[in-house]
Each structure stands twice: as C-alpha cells, then as structure tokens.
Amino acid sequence: MNLSYLLLIPLIPLAVFLLLGIFNTQIKPAVSGYIGVLGLATSTALSYYAAFQYFFVSGKVDGVYQTFVEKVVWMNFTETSSLKYLHIDMGILIDPISVMMLIVVSTISLMVHIYSRGYMKGDDGYTKFFAYLSLFSFSMLGLVLATNLFQIYMFWELVGVSSFLLIGFYYTKPSAVAAAKKAFIVTRFADLGFLIGILIIGYYAGTFDFQTLNAVNPEGEALLLNWASTTFMGMSVFTWALILIFMGGAGKSAMFPLHIWLPDAMEGPTPVSALIHAATMVVAGVYLVARLFPMYYFVEEGFVLNIVAYVGAFSSLFAAVIAITQTDIKRVLAFSTMSQIGYMMLALGVSSYKGEEGVGYMASMFHLFTHAMFKALLFLGAGSVIHAVHSNYLKDMGGLRKYMPITNITFLIAALAIAGVPPFAGFWSKDEILVAAFEKNEFLYFIGLFVAGLTAFYMFRLYFGIFWGKETEYTHTPHEAPISMTFPLLFLAFMSIIAGFIPFSEFITADKVGFEGHLNYTMAALAVGTGLFGIILAWIFYKKENDLAEKFAHSFGMFYKWTYNKFYFDEIYIFVTKKIVFNLVAAPIAYFDKKYVDGTMEGIGNKTVWISRKIKGVQSGKLQDYAFSFVGGVVIIALVFIYLWTN
C-alpha cells in the first residue's frame, strides 16, 4: 500500500496553521475561513480515499488487516550501533483503528470548520480561530497516525496546547483563562504519569515502537515481549507502566478523578467544544488504550484492564448522575461526554483479544465512532441555540422548536441516538458494549444499563427543556442559524442515523480478523426499554411546564445538592492547589529561600564586613597606638624566642 500521500493528511492543516498564524493580520477574515475549510476538506478527502483503499482494496491479506508503517528516525538517544538502540521515530502507522480515527477526526473537524464560518462571524479573532483549529487538526491527526509511544506523546502534548489555546480563545475573560489553565495543568499532571510510563517501557523493553511492543505470537495467545522478567512491588514493571500510561489517558479523556477540567473547558467557543471536548481529543485516552491493547490484555493477564473497566464504569455513572442536575446546557453535554467515554473505557476493559471474544474492543471503537457523530451534533446544535438566545442556561430557553426547526429535528435525532433508540447509531454501539460487559462482569453490565437509562433521561430533559417546556419571552426573536451552520447539523444527523448500520465487527477488531456481528435481542430489548423509560420520565417532567421535577429533586435533599455541586470536586482541587501547593509548599520555599539560603550568603558577606571593620580599627593613624603595638609585638616575639631557646 502506498502511504506517501497519507503524510499530507496532517501536513495540510499544519501548512494552513502556519499560513494563517504568520500572516494573521494580513489575511482577510473571509479568506481565512475559506483557506481553513479548503485545507481540511482536502485532508478529509484523502482520509476517505485512504479508508477506502485500506478497508476494501489492499488492507486485507488472508482475512487479516495488515499494519503498514512508514517512518524516519527523528532523534537518536543512543548510537545506531549500540546494543539497545533507543530512538524516536516520526512516521505514520496505518491499521484499522488509525484509519477509523482519520475518518472521525477529519469529518468532525471539517464540519466544525464549516460551522465556525457562521458561528464565529464578526469575531475579532476570526483568523486566529481558524489557525488554532488547523493546529489542533494537525496535532490530532498526527496523534492518530503515531508509530511509537514518544510520537504519540508529542502530539498528545500538542493537542493539549491547542486545547489550551482554544479554551482560552476569549482570553480577556478571566473565567476562560482560568479554565484553559486548569485544563492544561490537570492534563499535564496526568501526562506526568504517561511520561514515566513511557520511560519505564523504554528502559525495560528497549523500544518505544508500537508494533514491537504489541507483537503477539502467531497463535495470538501471548505477547512476544518478555513482560514478566522484572517486577516491582509484586507486579511486573510493565503493569506499572501501563497503569501510568492509563493515567495519562484518563487525564485526557476526563475519567474520574481527573475529569474536573472538562466541564470548565466549555468556556471555549462552542464549535471547539464539539470538536475537541466531545468528539476527538477527549477520546484520545480510549485510543491510547486501544492502541496498546495487546499489551494491556496480555501483561499480567489483563490486570490493568480491570482498572480501566472500573474507572470507566464509575466515571460513566458519576457523570451521568451529575448531568441530570446541571442547568448550563454545555455542561450537561460535557458530563454526558465524560459518561459516554466511560462507556468506551468500560468496553475496552471487559474485552478479550481473540475473535468474537474481542467484542468489547470492537464495541468501544464503534461507540467512539458513533458518539463522535451524535455528540458533535449535540454540541453544534447547542451552539446554534446559544447563538440564537445568547445564553447557556436552560432557564433562558424553552419552546424553541417553533423558531429553529432544523436545529430542533437534528437535536432530536442526536438525542435519540445517544439514548439508544433503534435504529439510530447509538443503539447499535451501546448494545455491543452492554453485551461485552454482560459476558465478562454482570455488575459492570448493570451499571452500564442503569447509565443508559440516566442518559436517556438527562438528554431528554435537555431536549424538552430547550425546544418544548415553557414558552419563554425572547427579547430578540430567535431565528434559525445560517446555512453554514445548518449544513453540518444535517450532515451529522444523517451520520447519526446511518452510522449504526456499518458492520464494524468486520473491519475493526482486536486481533484484526473480522467476525460477523449479530444483535442480542434480549439485551437490546432491555437496553431500549430502559432508555424509553428514561425518555418517558423526562417527558412527564419537562414536556410541559410543571413543578414535578422540582419536587422530585427536593425529595433527594442533600444528594441533589451534592450532585448539583458536582460532589464538590472542584472545591477539593482548589483546596489542594491553592491551600496545599501554593500556600504550604511554594510559599514556605520562597520564604526559606529569602530568609535562610539567601540569609546565609548575606550573613557571610556581612560578617566579612564586620570583621574588616574591627580590623580597620587597628589602623587608627595615631603614632602612640602604632608605637604601642610595635613594642608589644617585639616583647611577645622576644618572649617566644626566649622560650624556644631555653627549651
């Protein structure tokens, strides 16, 4: 398979970024929007072409999807001739999941580019915005195509920075600046784990290369890597490394307890939330685990996968509960994202490697794909609503279906998709996840099922609250968004309907051998039933204006308050950062430095001055003093000599 054209997929957005970034002031906004869209459209077309080539023409050999790699050495840690040749490569790796991610990233990014032309119209930083979007697209595409741990780490950091820049896009707003800082620092902390994990793997495995690390024996039953050779505290060092790498993934994917940055990240412009904080960057953690899946599965008999599964399941439940009580529509969607990513992690965590047992892996990737479509749609729809009513809060909305028919319909489609109603996309992928969970661990299955009900409920609370419910009096009559904004909505709605019919299990599996997927009717019926129950509940509570919901909430009392305040996690973090790090570590160090370290040095200097002053006194300039000293000295020396002589 010829891969050279694939290089263009990330490089075109990079070129666009450089162009728009350097000539930021010279390029007219109208032009920069077109440049951005055109660049991404080219990348998207190439991605689709690559996917077609890979999946249908030349990717499969003897029923197994092959991995294609093209790379160059970027930096050497040791000499090429040395026994343990450590180096960083730059290159592209093509396998089923990277091709699938190319499709996801380029599609959503293109839609967001198109949408932003309408949404950001008239903004001062219009060109800058497109430059940042291109930077993000470049970084994310590079991340997806990475051939080794270091390369993925590098692009990982770059997406983090693009996210920082875009969250803080309205940089004169203090809340946006705070949110951007928070997102960067929290993920940076998680990346510390990732980095240490990489260092461990580099040292013990002697390579960073995905293919070498993931190599499995021909029977598909064991890792070629000798992971059991060195242990630390009773576990293989590789287990520790994988836990630390998962920490990095959990940070990026907003898994509990590293999730706190995601809701705040909603300070960024809405298209950014759709692109970065819903569809692409936040699933990087899932992608990372999937990328290293053979390692995760075989090292220590999949011990770390259990952690992945439980963290995923808990995050998914935790976020779904919080989402019910939030009143900022973007925050509801943010927690929903966290919850759905928890699903994907859960699915990976319960997956096996071989054949149909690897259904969890497939389901996770499937859900990643469908979720990207409908969640981006939800965010873009929310953006369209916010654009119309100039508020993020549910209390300012209601009855909007009359004013915004396209937004209404597309939002409904997305809501049905995420609620798992057949035949929309979310139904198919969620069903597979629940099947996988049921086979491995029934407890996790029931959490998953419960979350499905919650999801349907909070999503329709949102839907009814925005488009039905009370008839709000609007100062400006809301109107439907322009075509540049509605086209992406329609396209993504279309995807949210059909994406579920893609026979994913034939393309994307853990061992790269396709299998035939089938629907488990009992499971499906249960899941759909739960979802419908949630929708009906929301319908009763929120379809018409009434106080049922409020009464219901109050019956929970304390719990409702805790949930509304997101279980006070922000406060805990503020306590840790402000009180502990800032006041109990940094401040004492600064004080210690001034008072003692510097004080000692000053002390030495001052003592020298003091001594010299004392000595200076001897040089008084008075003849009698000198005479006295002279005579005194002679007498002393004479005595000493006499003493020495007599002995």
Binding site: N76, Y203, D593
Partner: protein, 497 residues
C-alpha cells in the same frame, strides 16, 4: 589565522574599533557588525566542523598549541569538539541578539558595548581553550565585566546586586582555583612534567585521594555559576537589576559556563572523584530542580520568576551530568543550549514589556496580548517552549535527560529521576500563571491600552532567538548526533579509570 583564534581576535578588534566610535549610532553599528561577523564565523565553524569530523576522529579538532608561560608549562592551547561548537554557536546568536535588544542604549553606549564584548570574548575563549589555566583566565574575563554592566547600567538596587553577584562568583572562583591547582599538581602522577593541558591530564591516573579532595572544590566552583542549590541566590537579584542584554547574556551564556566547566574539567579530569561524590551533589541538583520551580510559583517580579525557573532548568543540567549516562549527558548539553536561547528570549521580552509599561510586577500587568500582539504571541510561544512543548528545543533536551536518568535502575536514582520529572508539572503551573496573568485577562492599567508597537530591531532580536529554538525542536537529529559523537571520550574516561 586559524579558525578558532578568530573567535578571540574579532571581538578584540571590535572592542578596539568601539574605542574610536562617537555616539550611539556609531557604537551600535560597530557592535552589530562585529557580532554579525562572529555569528558568521560560528556558522562557518559548524560547517567546517562537520567536514573535518568526517575525516578526523581525534577528540578535539582544529587544535593549536602555543607556549605562553614556560615556567609553569602554561599554553595557549585551543581545540573544539561537538559540545564546544554548539555552545560557541549559542554564544554568537545571543550576543548578536543582545546587541539588537540594546539598540536604544542611551547611557554611555560605547562603554556598554565594550563591556558586552569583553564578556563575550571571555566566553568564547573559555569554550575554545583546552588548557586549564588559559581557561581559568578567560573565565575570569567573562565574569568581571558583569560587575560593571550591572553596577553602571542596572536598575533598582544595582550596587547591591552587582556586589552580591560578583562576590559570590568570586568566592566560587577562589574555590575553583584551588581545584584547578590541585589538578595541576597531580598531573604528573604517572611520571612526566606537570601540565595544564586537559587532554593530557585526562590520560593521567590522578590518585583517588586527590580526586576525592579536588572534585568537590572544582565542582562547587563552577556550580555556583550554574546556580546549584543552595548557591543560587545571587542570580535572582543579579538578573533583576541587570539591563536586558546583560540578563540575556548572563542567563543565556555565562551560566552555561558552569555546566560546561563541570563536564569538561571536574568530571572529565576527576572521574573517580566525581563518582564518589555524585550521590551528594545529585541530591542537591534534584532539590534545585523542584525547589527552583516552586520558588518561581510564588514570585511576582517577571525577572525573579525567570531567575528561579533558571535555577530549576539548570538544576536539570547538573542533575543530568551527575547521572553518568551518555543519553542524559547529551540532554544536559541540549538543555544548556535550549535554556540559553529560551531564557535569553524571555529576558528580551521582559525588557520590551518593562520598557513600555515600566513595571515588572505581574499583578500590575494584564491583557497585554491585546495591545502588544507580537510580543504577546512570542511570549506565549516562549512560555510553551519553556514548559517543554514538543516542537521546541526544551522538549528534546528534557526527554534526553529523563530517558538517560532512567537508565540508572537503582532505587536512589529512580526516586530522584521521578522527582526531577515531576518538575514538568510545576513548570506548567508557573508558566501558565504568568501567561494567564500578564498576557491574558482584562487590561488592568488603562495606560496599557496604547503601547508603542514592536520595532524592527526588537523583532530581529526575537527572531534570531526564536528560529533556532524551533529549529532545534523540529529537527534535532543533527545537533544531538553531533553532541553524542563527542561524548564518547568522556564515558571512556569514566570506564577506564
């Protein structure tokens, strides 16, 4: 004339030319031309070095040896390897950028540029020497002008800062001199004459007792300049009072002399002593890494923040040197280069901000991105590069250090390595605090709504520094391979003793 001695002759000629100039215009043009020639020479040297290295595998290239002081066998001996070539390049870039940044130096411009060039002569001489004594002389030439530069052209409590800086560095020099003489008087351990020549001493087996005694002296002498904890306190005060170009040169180049000296003299000549003492100094270095970073979190003066950040980043250099690992050593040199460029750029930008707003207090600054878009954008880029973003020089340096430090599998080194690695989070905290406070957010001071635009000479200075930062970060393989090839003799020195 040989290619290396030019690095001393050209600055000296520039100084002579400066003596005859009148007024700012003549002085700055002369200084600029002089430093431009130096940059040209440095680029030429890099090319010549690659060519020569392909056919010549001796440790030092372009060597030259002239007897200088017969009685003590002191020579003017020069030569370069990949490490010194890289550092010479760094010096040339920063000196030229410094001249551009001082374009509007109204006060005694002639004397200012002369002092600046004296300093750079000393630095060049230090990097090309392979004779201990000559090296020491150049070291002193580089350090002394600092006193004048801060004392005369500085701001704030300049006399105090200049005195503090000079005294602490002189204290270091005194200790260093003892160490150097100690090495000299043991250089005949295998028979033969006493010598100051580094390459010859490296072949000698200096007795263990002497190594154990003189290593800490030599190390500390240089480490004061390399801002080793707890001998770093001269640096915040010194930087805060120094004029912009001096801060740039000082943090960018002069402080690198510390790490270079430790590597080239203390560790190369006294490897056994180094191994014996490394456990102690590596603890200090690792503390410095974290301590400096936390120190920076609390500061409110832009220059103080950078000074503490330098303690942290240069602590990483010393830390890497003491791990006795080739990858980490490579990282240490790369970090010296990277930190030199980044910190010089930071100080240049701080100078521009201070020149416009007349304050360096971060609580009085805010939203500058709006009024100073170019400076603001570069400031953010520099900050991101400083916290180790891939694509910039800091990342590759840090990664080499961390990967190398991880090659020591014992628990002691593991713990220290993880401690050092964790500084990347704290770095992110203080950099983002800084960027968030002064560049983003609303404009605090209403006078800041209308600030003078960036000028051409400022832009030139910025780009001179920014381009190599990006170049190093995007395509590091040339540089890192060049340095790596020169590390072999050092590791051999450790292995064969």
């Amino acid at each position: 004339m040989d290619i290396l001695s030019l690095f001393i002759i050209v600055p000296v000629l520039t100084i002579l030319a400066l003596v005859f100039t009148k007024g700012l215009q003549q002085a700055r043009i002369t200084a600029m031309v002089g430093s431009l020639i130096q940059l040209g020479m440095a680029s030429n040297l890099v090319i010549a070095y690659f060519k020569e290295r392909a056919v010549n595998d001796s440790i030092m290239l372009f060597t030259k040896d002239m007897i200088w002081f017969d009685h003590f066998n002191i020579h003017y001996a020069i030569g370069v390897d990949g490490i010194s070539v890289a550092l010479l390049g760094l010096t040339a870039i920063i000196v030229l950028a410094g001249v551009f940044i001082s374009w509007k130096m109204e006060d005694l411009p002639k004397e200012f540029f002369i002092s600046l060039l004296v300093l750079s002569t000393g630095v060049y001489g230090f990097f090309i020497s392979i004779d201990l004594f000559t090296m020491f002389v150049f070291y002193e030439i580089a350090v002394i002008p600092m006193y004048l530069l801060i004392g005369i052209w500085g701001s704030g409590p300049k006399e105090y800062s200049a005195m503090k800086l000079t005294l602490m560095l002189m204290g270091g020099s005194a200790v260093l001199l003892v160490g150097v003489l100690g090495i000299y008087f043991n250089s005949n351990a295998d028979g033969g004459a006493l010598t100051f020549n580094i390459l010859e001493i490296a072949k000698v087996h200096i007795p263990f007792a002497a190594q154990k005694l003189f290593f800490p002296l030599t190390f500390l002498g240089f480490a004061v300049l390399g801002a080793l904890f707890p001998f770093h306190t001269w640096s915040p005060d010194g930087h805060a009072s120094a004029p912009t170009a001096v801060s740039m040169l000082h943090a960018g180049v002069l402080m690198k002399l510390g790490g270079y000296g430790i590597f080239r003299i203390a560790m190369f000549l006294l490897p056994l002593g180094a191994m014996e003492w490394s456990w102690f100094f590596i603890i200090l270095a690792a503390i410095g890494v974290v301590y400096g970073a936390f120190g920076a979190v609390r500061q409110t003066d832009l220059k103080y923040i950078n000074a503490y950040a330098s303690v942290s980043h240069l602590g990483l250099v010393l830390f890497a040197l003491l791990t006795f690992n080739k990858i980490a050593w490579n990282g240490a040199i790369l970090q010296s280069l990277s930190h030199g460029l980044l910190t010089a750029l930071f100080f240049a930008l701080i100078g521009m901000i201070y020149g416009r707003t007349h304050t360096r207090d971060i609580n009085k600054l805010g939203g500058l991105m709006k009024t100073l878009p170019f400076i603001g954008a570069v400031y953010v880029i520099t900050g991101l590069a400083y916290l180790g973003l891939p694509g910039f020089s800091g990342f590759i340096a840090e990664m080499n250090i961390f990967v190398g430090a991880f090659e020591n599998p014992d628990m002691f080194h593991r713990v220290l390595t993880i401690l050092a690695v964790s500084s990347i989070v704290v770095t992110a905290v203080y950099i983002l605090r800084l960027v968030g406070k002064i560049m983003m957010g609303p404009i605090i001071d209403e006078h800041h709504h209308d600030l003078p635009k960036v000028t051409w000479y400022e832009k030139t200075g910025i780009l001179l520094l920014l381009i190599p930062i990006i170049g190093m970060g995007v395509a590091p393989i040339w540089l890192s391979d060049m340095i790596m090839a020169s590390l072999q003799p050092f590791i051999q020195g450790v292995l064969t003793h």
